[in-house]
Symmetry: C2
Subunit: 228 residues, 2 copies
DNA sequence: ACCTGAACACCGTTCAAGT
DNA sequence: ACCTGAACACCGTTCAAGT
C-alpha cells in the first residue's frame, strides 16, 4: 500500500538504499517519528528486518538519509533574479513549508547541526546575505542567525502542531490559549496578559516571515561590531 | 554517590516528587538523555522502578518536570535596572549558559513548545521588548522571534558539542571543519568557501549574542508592517 | 553480494500484591 | 497512601546461516 515507487523494471525484490529511504520517509510522514521501526519498514517492503540493515547500518544513518533527501528535494530549484531580502523570504518559506509537511524534520534538523542539508541551506542564505552587507564577520553572523532562526521556528511550529492538545480545531485551540494568557496573574505575567489578541489573530507564516525580516533588517543597519 | 541532597531530617526512604526530579536531573547531566531510565533512577534512589512511577506517571512528565525545574532555577533572579537591549542580552546569555551546562535541555525545549518554562521566558523577553517598540503586533512578533532564536541557537550549540566528532579539542575540530569548508567545490559553495576564517576564529557566545542584537536592532527600526 | 530470522539486551508501562 | 517486583509488548542491534 505504501511502496508508491516500484522500480517497474526490476522485480520488487530489488532492495536499494534509495527504496529503503523512500519507504522510511513514507512511514515517518504517515506515523510520525515513533512509527519508523526496522520491523515496520520490513513489513512495508515485504522483507525481513535484517535485510534492511544490510543497506542501512544504523537507525541514525536512516534518519539522516531521510532528512537529507527530503530537504534537498524541496529546496532544489531557486529563483536567482529576486532581491536578496525577497530571496531569503522565499527560501525561508520554502523550508517552513517542508517542515510543516514533514513534522518529523524538526527534531532531526535541530538535533544534529552540521548535516549536509544544513550546510546547503547555509550556502543559499549566505549568497543573499553577501549582497546585503560587506563585512565577512557580519555575513557569518547573519547567515548563522537566519539559519538558526528558520530551523528553530519551523521546529517549534511543527512541535506545536504535533502536541496532544492540538487535535481539535486550530482556532479553538488558539482561542483557549489566548484566554488562558489573558487570565494569568498580573504580577508575574503583566506582558503576556496583553498578548492574547495578537495570539488569537496572528497568522503563523506571517509571524515567521516577520521574524526573518527583523534579522535581515538588523543586518542592513549593521555598523561597527563594538558600537551597539 | 549521586544523591547529593538527602532530606537530612527524614530517612532516605522519603521518596518525594522533588527528590525524583532532582535525581533525574543528576542522571541527565551525567549520562545524557539516553542515560535517564526508570531502572537507573530506581538504582540511584535505591528503590524499585515501580515506586518511582507512583510519583511520576510518565517519562514525558518526568522530562517536563526536570526541564521546568532547571530553567526556572537558573533564570530566577534578574536585574531590572538595565537598558532593554542589555537586559535581553543578559537573559539570552543566561539561557545559553543553562543549555550549555545541561545539554539535554535543547531537545526538550525545542520539542514541546509552550511549556511553562517557555511562557516564563516569553514574559521576561516581552517586558523588555515592550520598552523598545510600541505596537503590540510587533511586540508579539519580536518576542516570539527572540525566544525562538535563543532556544534554537542554544539547542544547536549543545547538539554541536554532543556530536560524536566533538570528542577532541574544540580548536582542532573547528580548524578541520574550516579547512573542509575552504575546499568545497566553488560552483556549489562559493559563499561557504569564504567563511573558513570566520568559522575558525569566531567565539560561540559572541556570534550568539550578535544574532540577538540583529533581531533587537531590526525591532528598533521597525516601521509599518506592509512597507518592507 | 544480498537476504533471512532467531537471539540478545534493553526499554516504558501495567498491575496484582504487599505494608 | 506508598512501595515492590514480576510480566508484557516492543525496540535496535548482532550474527550464524542460507542463497
Amino acid at each position: 500500500m505504501k511502496n508508491t515507487t516500484p522500480p517497474a523494471g526490476r522485480r520488487s525484490s530489488a532492495l536499494t538504499h534509495e527504496r529503503v529511504v523512500g519507504a522510511a520517509i513514507d512511514l515517518l510522514d504517515a506515523e510520525g517519528e515513533g512509527g519508523l521501526t526496522f520491523r515496520a519498514l520490513a513489513a512495508a517492503l515485504e522483507t525481513g528486518h535484517g535485510a534492511i540493515q544490510w543497506h542501512v547500518a544504523n537507525k541514525t544513518e536512516l534518519l539522516r538519509a531521510a532528512t537529507s533527501a527530503t530537504v534537498s528535494r524541496a529546496v532544489g530549484t531557486r529563483d536567482s533574479n529576486a532581491a536578496p531580502n525577497e530571496a531569503i523570504r522565499a527560501l525561508a518559506l520554502n523550508v517552513f513549508d517542508v517542515m510543516d509537511a514533514h513534522p518529523w524534520l524538526g527534531r532531526q534538523l535541530t538535533g544534529s547541526p552540521w548535516q549536509p542539508s544544513m550546510l546547503f541551506l547555509f550556502e543559499l542564505i549566505g549568497r543573499e546575505i553577501q549582497q546585503i552587507c560587506p563585512r565577512r564577520e557580519t555575513q557569518f553572523t547573519a547567515a548563522s542567525a537566519v539559519l538558526t532562526y528558520i530551523i528553530g521556528a519551523g521546529g517549534r511550529e511543527t512541535a506545536n502542531a504535533q502536541a496532544p492538545e492540538a487535535t481539535g480545531d486550530r482556532l479553538d485551540l488558539l482561542d483557549t490559549m489566548a484566554s488562558f494568557w489573558e487570565n494569568l496573574n498580573d504580577e508575574d505575567y503583566r506582558f503576556t496578559r496583553t498578548m492574547g489578541e495578537p495570539l488569537r489573530t496572528h497568522d503563523d507564516r506571517d509571524v515567521f516571515l516577520a521574524g526573518v525580516d527583523l534579522i535581515v533588517a538588523g543586518t542592513m543597519h549593521d555598523r561597527a561590531p563594538a558600537a551597539v
